[in-house]
Symmetry: C2
Subunit: 215 residues, 2 copies
């Protein structure tokens, strides 16, 4: 069976042994997509950051902590997959310096931290993507011209379709997303429980793939 | 029955709608202490940050996200308690400015964030502590002179005993702690599963309280 890669959950970038920068992400959308993909007949490898939610047993699950670890796992898995969906919220900055010991509060009770960008996982996958592979990143946009930003991201990452979602989707059970193709056409606007939206996302991708093969 | 307050889990300090600074903390030690305290005949209110673990049903659980929310909840609950144990890992810094929209990566791919100290929850409880109440903060120390730092914290917070633990204890099921009194005397050195260590911590506190009443 064709295998797909799904990234899920947040990643963490540690400042010292206890403090870290992270992104709000429950892993639930990744889990729902994995279940929907299994139901649609795919095999699934999930690369997941630290989450409290449980993944279906039929999955191959690779657990990671940092964005770099997530990237390395994805680079290893992707060549054996027909496609990848990026439902993770990898932390896109890491501290420039990591302290081996817990940072102590100083007298003036302030702390200035310089962060540098972490690698863009789906942009890296976009570079090694073969003509028979597809890539579907997510874009979480909280401002008005979110669609424009999402399309820019889709091109930067060399993706095929992008799933645009708002901050409402992050932690709850409810999702509201829009699937766009590279021309900016909205293929679907979906809302409902994460399970129902995930099923419709997999359905939309499958329908697009069938259309491409038919062409 | 006498009620005790237990804080548990991490807190989060958001930079924008998705990114946050946090501390590694599973909430398991708080849950184990709560169970041990119930078994010892206490009623328990737990004030907990976002965790994946489950708390026993017999507890009163107050869920919070930020350090300030944890402080407000504790200030409300503590006056009705005989004592408090601080097993939480509250994030001790918050960003000076919080962005309403998701911060975009800039061209040079760096980000400098100024953080300011959040309130010290147990130091605040120490200020309102009555003579018949007791306070047991935790100190997570990763460097060599950890005991010294822990004692300084104990005095700053006006606590009665302090539980010194190392970074090994943070996420796993295993704990290794030392209980110190204000003179620096080690009352107990405990190691084992979090459940077993929690039972021994409650036992040690109870024994100390009995000794005080006997005096």
């Amino acid at each position: 069976m064709p295998r797909i890669l799904i990234t899920a959950g947040p990643t963490r970038e540690y400042l010292d042994p206890v403090r870290y920068l992270s992104n709000a992400s429950s892993g639930k959308m990744g889990a729902a997509l994995a279940k929907a993909a299994l139901n649609a007949g795919f095999e699934v490898t999930i690369v997941s950051g630290p989450v409290g939610c449980h993944y279906p047993q039929e999955l191959r699950v690779i657990r990671v902590t940092t964005t770099d670890e997530m990237l390395q796992a994805c680079l290893q898995v992707f060549p054996d997959c027909v496609g990848a969906i990026g439902a993770a919220a990898p932390c896109d900055f890491r501290p420039k310096a990591v302290s081996v010991e817990k940072i102590k509060k100083t007298g003036d009770d302030t702390m200035t931290v310089e962060f540098v960008a972490t690698p863009d996982i789906f942009a890296e996958l976009g570079k090694i993507k073969q003509p028979n592979q597809w890539l579907v990143p997510f874009a979480l946009e909280t401002c008005e011209n979110g669609k424009e930003h999402a399309l820019e991201k889709l091109r930067q990452k060399n993706g095929d379709w992008i799933i645009l979602n708002g901050p409402k989707t992050i932690l709850g059970g409810y999702a509201e997303v829009e699937i766009l193709d590279r021309t900016g056409t909205t293929l679907a606007t979906l809302s409902g429980t994460k399970e129902s939206v995930a099923t419709q996302i997999i359905g939309t991708i499958n329908a697009e793939l069938r259309m491409q093969y038919a062409e």
